[in-house]
């Protein structure tokens, strides 16, 4: 009775076994296999980071816009001969008649003093300083927005010294900056994506060319083109997926680190929590890298076989 061997029990490096071994006719632990995994991992890391940055910028701009567009401020200036309380009540009455307003809250003198404190210092809360009264208005974002021009006119008409700050100027500036940031981040994402595709394509082609003699040998021992192509494709699919998953894992770690740093500081941009659809987008990165590698490998090997007899 012949003892059946455990084939392929040759010692291979741990790194190669973890990230490269594919049991393929293509060399698994060779320099091209590991290089391809590392190249794909690096490019997927960069692509995932860029995608994450795009999502963070989108999240931040939506957050700024939502916060600003969902709030209004009514400013009531002290006017000689006018009772401040009557001015405030008249403004609140005008607000209550306007649809689409969720809440209207008069800020206390302490709240107003806290707002002014960065400009005028800690001693501003003196009784003799004529502070304007402020009403913080929150809009119902689920309802149609109110006609701000009509509301401004109604407030001015309600009492002298009452005026509406719709933050429109500030909102326009923020929107402009946000749109520019978004455009830039999408442009960077497009460049990184194209670069990733190009590098994965070249790396796959180089890996295949370096092992051209294996394709030739299979051809000469009677393997059909489809068998050779499927062996090569499986090899590059596994290499691509391993590299992609490695890159994605590194980028998720980077996101975690950035999230801690950015959310604990007072930076303008905070990292969004990863939503299911965000994770889906990120998971597509290694899948795309593997697909590019597989398609390139198939096209290259079929073209090479087509030149053989």
């Amino acid at each position: 009775m012949v003892e059946v061997p455990m084939t392929g029990t040759v010692r291979r490096s741990l790194l190669a076994r973890l990230f490269v071994e594919t049991r393929s006719v293509m060399p698994a632990a060779g320099s091209t296999g590991l290089s391809l995994v590392l190249v794909i991992a690096t490019m997927c890391f960069l692509a995932s980071l860029t995608l994450g940055a795009v999502l963070a910028v989108n999240h931040a701009t939506q957050s700024w816009t939502r916060q600003l567009s969902g709030a209004l401020t009514v400013e009531i200036l002290a006017v000689e001969g006018q009772d401040p309380e009557m001015q405030r009540d008249a403004a609140l009455t005008a607000l209550s008649k306007t649809p689409g307003i969720l809440t209207a809250k008069t800020l206390s003198r302490d709240d107003v003093a806290a707002l002014i404190q960065p400009w005028l210092g800690v001693d501003v809360a003196r009784e003799d300083l004529p502070f304007p009264q402020l009403i913080d208005v929150r809009l119902d974002t689920s309802a149609p927005p109110p006609d701000l021009d009509a509301l401004a006119a109604a407030l001015e008409k309600s009492a002298p010294g009452v005026r509406l700050d719709s933050h429109r100027q500030w909102l326009d500036d923020i929107n402009g900056a946000a749109n520019a940031a978004q455009g830039l981040s999408y442009a960077i994402l497009a460049i990184i994506t194209l670069t990733t595709i190009a590098i994965v394509t070249f790396a796959t082609r180089a890996g295949l060319l370096a092992n051209h003699e294996i394709v030739e040998l299979l051809h000469l021992i009677g393997a059909r083109d489809n068998f050779i192509a499927s062996e090569i494709q499986r090899h590059f699919l596994l290499l691509g997926l391993r590299g992609g998953v490695l890159g994605l894992a590194l980028s998720l770690l980077a996101f975690g680190g950035m999230s801690i740093v950015m959310n604990s500081s007072s930076l303008l941009v905070s990292m969004p929590t990863i939503q299911p659809w965000t994770l889906t987008s990120l998971l597509l990165v290694p899948v795309m890298a593997a697909l590019v590698s597989v398609i390139t490998a198939r096209m290259t090997v079929m073209r090479g076989l087509g030149r053989m007899m």
């Binding site: 061997p5 084939t7 299979l218 051809h219 021992i221």
Partner: protein
Amino acid sequence: MIRFENVGLRYESGPEVLRDVTFTLERGSFHFLTGPSGAGKTSLLRLMFLDHKPSRGLITMFDRPIATLARHELPDIRRQIGVVFQDFRLIAHLTAYENVALPLRARGKSEDSYRADVIELLQWVGMGERLDALPSTLSGGEKQRVAIARAVMGRPRLLIADEPTGNVDAEMGNRLLHLFVELNRLGTSILIATHDRELIASNPAPALVLHKGEVEIHG
């Protein structure tokens, strides 16, 4: 079984390396192919294992004219030809067992169906103890025997060996020759390309002698 009629070969626009080559290899025959370096032995072998098309002439393999076959029919012809390459062409990251099993794997067979046959064949060539060895750990003679085992694994009707004793000592050369003779007795046609006159003398058989691209049959 195999017939070359007025076959000529030139690479691209270069000179003709084979001219009017005509010969027939009968079923179960044993031939040597010899001639000086540059005479065209490798080119002739490439035509025989369907690595290259002739520039002119007619090649018939196993009674089928190659020129009339569609490309997808050629693998079936190649599977009837076993080749022992001069440089072995063993896949470096596959074990001896995996290298020998390659022709059957390429035919889509499952490992369960061929495992015992591969082991038996490796034992027949004296490599039963080195099943798991990588080519880089094998000596020249061991590589040659693994290459021979791979070439005969698919039970070819024709075995072509290019300088099979070129990398081994005389004793190993004789052992390899005995392997070929035994295979020939089992019905496989054998064509051995060699410079080794002692090898040719030790087993009298017809020889195709190539000289300046033309072939003569001796013996």
